[in-house]
Every structure is written in structure tokens, then in C-alpha cells.
Amino acid sequence: MGEREYDASSYAPPAEVEEMELPHPKGFFGKYVWSQDAKVIAVQYGLTATAIGLVALVLSLLMRLQLGFPNSLSLIDPGSYLQYVTMHGMIMVVYLLTAIFLGGFGNYLIPLMCGARDMVFPYLNMLSYWIYLASVLILVAGFFVAGGSTGAGWTLYPPQAISPGTPGVDTGIVLMLVSLAVFIVGFTMGGLNYVVTVLQARTRGMTLMRLPLTVWGIFMATVMALLAFPALFVAVLMMLMDRLIGTSFFMPEMLSMGESSDHRGGSPLLFQHLFWFFGHPEVYIVALPAFGIVSDLIATHARKNIFGYRMMVWAIIIIGALSFVVWAHHMYVSGMSPYFGFLFATTTLIIAVPTAIKVYNWVLTLWRGNIRLTLPMLFAIGFLFTFVNGGLSGLFLGNVTVDVPLSDTYFVVGHFHMVMAVAPILVIFGAIYHWYPKITGRMLDETLGKVHFWITFLGTYVIYYPMHFMGLEGVPRRYYAYGETTFISDSVQSLNAVITVAAFIVALAQLLFLFNLAWSYFRGREAGSNPWQATTLEWQTPHTPPRHGNFGKALPIVYRWPYDYSVPGVKQDFIPQNVPPEAVERESDTRRGGER
């Protein structure tokens, strides 16, 4: 087939995307509060998510306190334990991870990495943040209303979630549902922006196959979120009606205290289907950005091109698509036809293939790389270990027969914390260490960071590794206390105590991290514009931190993919994406840069 190339004189195709007009507000409020600059919005998202994440962290400590040293704090009773479980889970998954990956890193990195001045619709983007903030506030209000927040578990399964006896059934559950609906509205505004910016607002020369994998991961996650959140939205509306108006979408007729309830004929299974049609993709919504970011961290800090770029992109796309057809693996014990179980087990295990490809490619990228054990690299390697561990226990849970006895035990808690809690969190840390210099212009402190890394990484193993064994013994999840249970051995209590101590130490290490963030902002070493010698566009901005509009007068032109590290025959070990071929300094003129 005829392959045509542009002739050498016109490396860059002509500009197709018109320059955008940016509002340039004056004054503190216009610049930092009601800002339409994606970078400011990103930081707002990041700070809000971190703040609410800290609340979730404190909740987890309260739970751990109860589990490790039962009844040491009179504040915690069975009801409030359930409330902590619920709020902890929901905050961590939706309000922290989703918000920080898409709203935080998405906003900061997409325009910079694509070579755009800003998101395509800055005003909508700003609204997105404020609506997100509103949803967080509504959620937090749940702590203060009579009856407290809901204790239904983060899955909010009806009928329990809206039946008398569950904590927070009066107001807490309503606030939770409203908050989720508001979150979805706000997210949609941002999400549409991210998608359209990636699709339609790239700079000259930036093809989709020259996008850094970070952008690919965030892009695909956003697409998935736009398709998955609708299911949650519908479930939320229906449950609100069940709770407030007395409809029976999800509520069957029930006997309670000898009286039959007002509801009849609803289907709790319908909720589970809707919830998990959202819930499973949600796992990948937080995983794919992590995959993307970690690819870039590894390539940059190992000074090597990413192994199998195309494969990585397609793996992201395939994982995204497949994750919409596996949801019922969360419902193996809810009662369904064994044929369905078989079908969903099969699709679940198929997802392991593209995922495994990605892991191999990361390892192969590291293989014989010029690995610099910088903080981002440490966290990236930590992610690899944690993710593989969590993925392996996922293989157990994906099989119906193995899952049935493990369902609702601590094995599950151990599994999902490894794979979707700790692994993405490690990437977030790595990413913050990596991009903080761009965001603030200063480096984070290395020593503090190393302490933070080792305590977090090893600590999480002490926390979650034993949970798998507890799960094998049948220790149930979401239990405040185990009482006189013969199948649970005494050693579980000592294990729990150890886990709790580790959890507190890990939590303290996070304070170190926060201190580092604050201290380095004022005292950190000046970073310069490209401290990691990275190739992607965000490091090539004329100013650090980048100003509104990102790239000064002229947008950069892209001549190459983002992974030109250690190209043979080239003087420097990296070639930024915007360096034209004639500007590449070569060792001798006879050899041209690595041909691909």
C-alpha cells in the first residue's frame, strides 16, 4: 500500500485548530478562586480531594482502633462502625480517587500534554469544580445531621440501605444519594471537557499515537466514567424515590417487627445490576489513569522508551471496553443463573490478559533501563508489586466456586485494598513527586520522601497481607466485633492489633508527606523547567509554573512520540517532543536517531 509522507520541508502540518481566546482575570479572586484556568482548577480539585481523603483516613483509623483494640473508644458502637465503613469506602473511591485522577491530574496534564492553551470550555470546567465542592459539602453534612451518615456500606444495597434500623436511614442516606447525584453532574461537566480537549484541541503534530500514556489513561477513564456514572445516577434517583416518595423500585415487601412494610414488588437485584454496572468500571476509572501515569514515570526515570507503546494504548482501550461486561462478578452470591456466573467469570478472566500485557511491558521497560531511583520511580515500582499482588488475589475472586466461600470476608478487603486502593494511591504519590516541581517550581524534599515511601509501602503490606489469611479463615468484613465465633482463631485478634498499629504508623507517615508539600512550597530547591529531563510537552513550557495559556506566544509543534529516551547516536539522552529533527544534536552526522 502506498505510504506517503509529508515532504521534509513541511514537518508540521498546518494549524487546523484556531487559537482560543482566554479570559484573563485580574485580582486574587479571579486568578485563584473563580479561575477558569485548568491548572488552577486542577489544584482546587486536588486540595479538596486530599482534604476529604484525610477524613476518610481518620475514619479508617477509627475502624482499625475498634478492630485491633476492641471497645477502647466508647465513641465507636456497632452503628457508628458501619457509618465509618460506608463513608470511608465511598469517599475513598469516588470523592478522592476519581476526583483527584480525573479532576486533578486530568485538568493539569491534559491541556499541557496535548499542547493546548486550556480545556476547550473553561467556564464549564470551572463549574465542574464548584459542583464537585458542593457534593463534598453535602456528603460531609451527613456527619452532622440527626441520626448521622448512612451505614449501608459503600454499595448502598437496598432494602437494607433504606430500611429502619440501618444507621442514618432518616437523613444520612438521602444526603449520600443527593451528594452522589450532584457529583455526577459536576463530573460530567469536567469529563466532557477532558474528552473533547483530547480529541479536538491538540497541537500541530500531536497525533493520538503520540500522546503520552498518561493522557491515554485519563482519557479512557473519562470516557468510561461518562458511560458508567449514568447507571449510578439512575440507581440514585430510583432509590431517592423509594426513600422519599415511597415507590418500590428496589424494595420488596418485608416483614419487620410483625408488620409488613409499605413497599411491595420491587427488585433489590435491579439495584445491584445498576450499581455494579457503574461499580466495576469505576475500579478501572481509578486504575487506568494510574496505569497511564505509571508508564510515564517508569519511562522517564528509567531513561527508556516505553516497551510496546501501541500495545499499551490498545490494552487501555480493550480494558476499558471489557470492563463494561464483567459487572456481575460482584454478584456471585446474590443468586443468579449458573450460566451467567460462568459468562461473567470468563469475561473477568479475559480482562487479565491485556492487564498482564501492561505489567509485562512495564517490567520490560525497566529491563536494562538506566534506572534512577528517584521518588517517582520508587513509587512506580511500589505500584508494580502492589498491583500484581492484588491482581493475583483477583484471579481467585473472579472464579465463581472460589469466590463463593471468600465473598464478604477479609480476603476481599485485602484484595481490593491492594489493587484499587493502595496501588492507585502509590501512583498518586509518585505523580505528585513527579509533577510538583512543575506545579510549584520547587522540588519536594528527597529524604522526607524516601521515609514516606518506605513506611507507606512496607506499612501497607503489614496492613493488608494478613487480611488475606484472615479471609481464608472466614473472618467476615463489615463486622464491628466477632463475638464468640468458633471458626475464628485467637491469633486473629493479635493480627488485628498488629494491623492497627501499622495503620497508625502509615497514617503518621502521611503527615510527613503533607508537611513536605507545605514546606517545599516555600523552602524547596528551585526545580528549573525540566528537572527530570523529560520529553513531554508540560516540561517544555516557557515558564515554570506555566502561566495561563500554558505555552506563551506560540503553541509548540510536535515532531516525535513522547518516549525518545536514550536514542542511539544522539548527544542528550532525551529528545523533547517539540524538538525539530534538524535541532537534534547528534554524535556524528552519519547516524540518524533511532528509526521507528
Binding site: M1, G2, E3, E5, Y6, Y11, P13, E16, E21, P23, V120, F121, Y123, L124, L192, V195, V196, L199, Q200, A201, R202, T203, R204, G205, M206, T207, L208, R210, L226, P230, A231, V234, L237, M238, M241, I245, G246, T247, S248, F249, D262, R264, G266, L269, L270, H273, L274, F277, Y309, Y559, W561, Y563, D564, V567, P581, V584, R592, G593, G594, R596
Partner: protein, 236 residues
């Protein structure tokens, strides 16, 4: 990957060419304005919302043990002593579909820069939309008078009322929001803001006639969804 420009897969036929096109630099969809791509993305997301609604409705209906009310009796209109099934809904559907026609004309006139024709057609569309919502309100009132509530009805499974009010209500909200935007757009058109490229009040984006088309996409989508709701509630 080096100093070469991307290979122009664009020129190749078939699947590779298509992927090449989509992946080529700057824009995946050539010559398509941002707002249009964004509207399409939003609509796809919205499709999932309505799909979840309708699938939920189907599941509730299949799972229900109580008998399901008979649509041709419930939605019949009393005309001169005779029960005419589907009469009201046929008129409603006709009106909404007609409004798609006026909308399409508005888009066309917009591109021809005919200010008053565009504005007039937008207002006509908004009027038809308002009539639709009005008739929907009439239907709701009628059903409520007959004793249909979200939590019960005289004829059988209570999920009937719940699903009906929720889903048609959600659709009606879409129509109402659309009417609101139509009115705003009509004002912009008639004032000449689109012609002059005047920045919007809130967003500061310059007006352009493509906005009419983007709004049109939304409006057609709302009509299309109605066809599905119509089929599932009134014909099943």
C-alpha cells in the same frame, strides 16, 4: 519514533485508513467544532441514562408479580363518550416530531445567516416544546385524578406509576430545559449576537451560528428518546 511526520494512514483505504484519520494530528473529527463534539459526547452519556431507565423499567415489569395495567385502557381519552386509546399520546408525539422539523429548518436558516427566520423558527420550536410539556402535564393530571400514584394505582403493579412518573418526568425535564435554551438562543439570534460574535454573558464565548446546530442536536435527541419511551410505555 522519529523525526518523520506521521505516516499518512489517512490515504489508505478501509479500517486502517479510518483509524489513521481518527488518530491524525490536532483533531480526531476534522472540521467539527468543539461544541458539537461535546454535545455528541454528552448525548452518548445521556443515552446511557435513558437506557438504564428503560432497562430498569423492563426489569421491574418482568419481575412484578402483580398484573401490569393495560396501556390501551389507561392512556385512553374519553371523546364524546367513547374511549379512544392513544389519542393524546399520538398528538403529543406528532407535535414533538414536528418540532424537530422546525428545529432542522432553524439550523438551515442559521447557516444561511437569515436572522429573523432562524429566530422565528427557534421560537416556533420552543412553542411546540411547551405545548408538548403542557399536554404531558395534562396527562399527568388525568392519571393522578384517576388514582395513579408513584406508590400505587387502581389497576395493578405499583411500579407502573413509579416508572411512568420517573421516566416521563425525566424526559419532560429534558424538554423543558431544551425550551429554555431555545428561548435564550432565539434571543441571541434576534439580537444579532451570533452574527456579531458577541461574547456570551456567562461563558464569554463568542456567538456563532454553529451554536444553533449544537442545540438542534440536543433537541433531536430528546425527540428520539421520546419515540423509545412512547414504544415502551404506550405500545407494550
Amino acid at each position: 519514533m522519529t523525526d518523520r511526520m506521521p505516516r499518512r494512514l489517512t490515504l489508505e483505504p478501509g479500517w486502517r485508513g479510518m483509524v489513521g484519520d481518527l488518530a491524525s494530528d490536532q483533531r480526531a473529527f476534522k472540521k467539527v467544532p468543539w461544541s458539537k463534539v461535546m454535545m455528541w459526547a454528552f448525548l452518548v452519556s445521556d443515552v446511557f441514562i435513558f437506557a438504564c431507565f428503560l432497562v430498569g423499567y423492563m426489569m421491574a415489569r418482568i419481575a412484578s408479580s402483580a398484573p401490569w395495567p393495560n396501556a390501551s385502557e389507561v392512556f385512553a381519552l374519553d371523546v364524546a363518550g367513547r374511549q379512544v386509546p392513544l389519542l393524546l399520546i399520538a398528538i403529543m408525539t406528532f407535535i414533538l416530531i414536528s418540532s424537530s422539523g422546525t428545529m432542522a429548518l432553524a439550523v438551515k436558516c442559521g447557516y444561511e445567516r437569515r436572522r429573523f427566520a432562524t429566530g422565528g423558527l427557534l421560537i416556533a420550536t420552543a412553542l411546540l416544546g411547551t405545548i408538548f410539556v403542557g399536554m404531558q402535564a395534562f396527562e399527568w393530571t388525568k392519571l393522578i385524578h384517576e388514582g395513579v400514584r408513584p406508590w400505587s394505582n387502581p389497576w395493578g403493579a405499583e411500579q407502573f406509576g413509579a416508572a411512568f412518573f420517573l421516566i416521563t418526568g425525566f424526559h419532560g425535564t429534558h424538554v423543558s430545559v431544551g425550551v429554555l435554551f431555545l428561548v435564550v438562543m432565539a434571543i441571541k439570534v434576534l439580537r444579532g449576537s451570533l452574527q456579531a460574535g458577541r461574547p456570551g454573558f456567562l461563558t464569554g464565548r463568542r456567538g456563532r451560528y454553529e451554536m444553533v446546530e449544537t442545540l438542534g442536536l440536543y433537541w433531536h435527541f430528546v425527540d428520539l428518546v421520546w419515540v423509545f419511551i412512547f414504544a415502551f410505555f404506550y405500545l407494550w
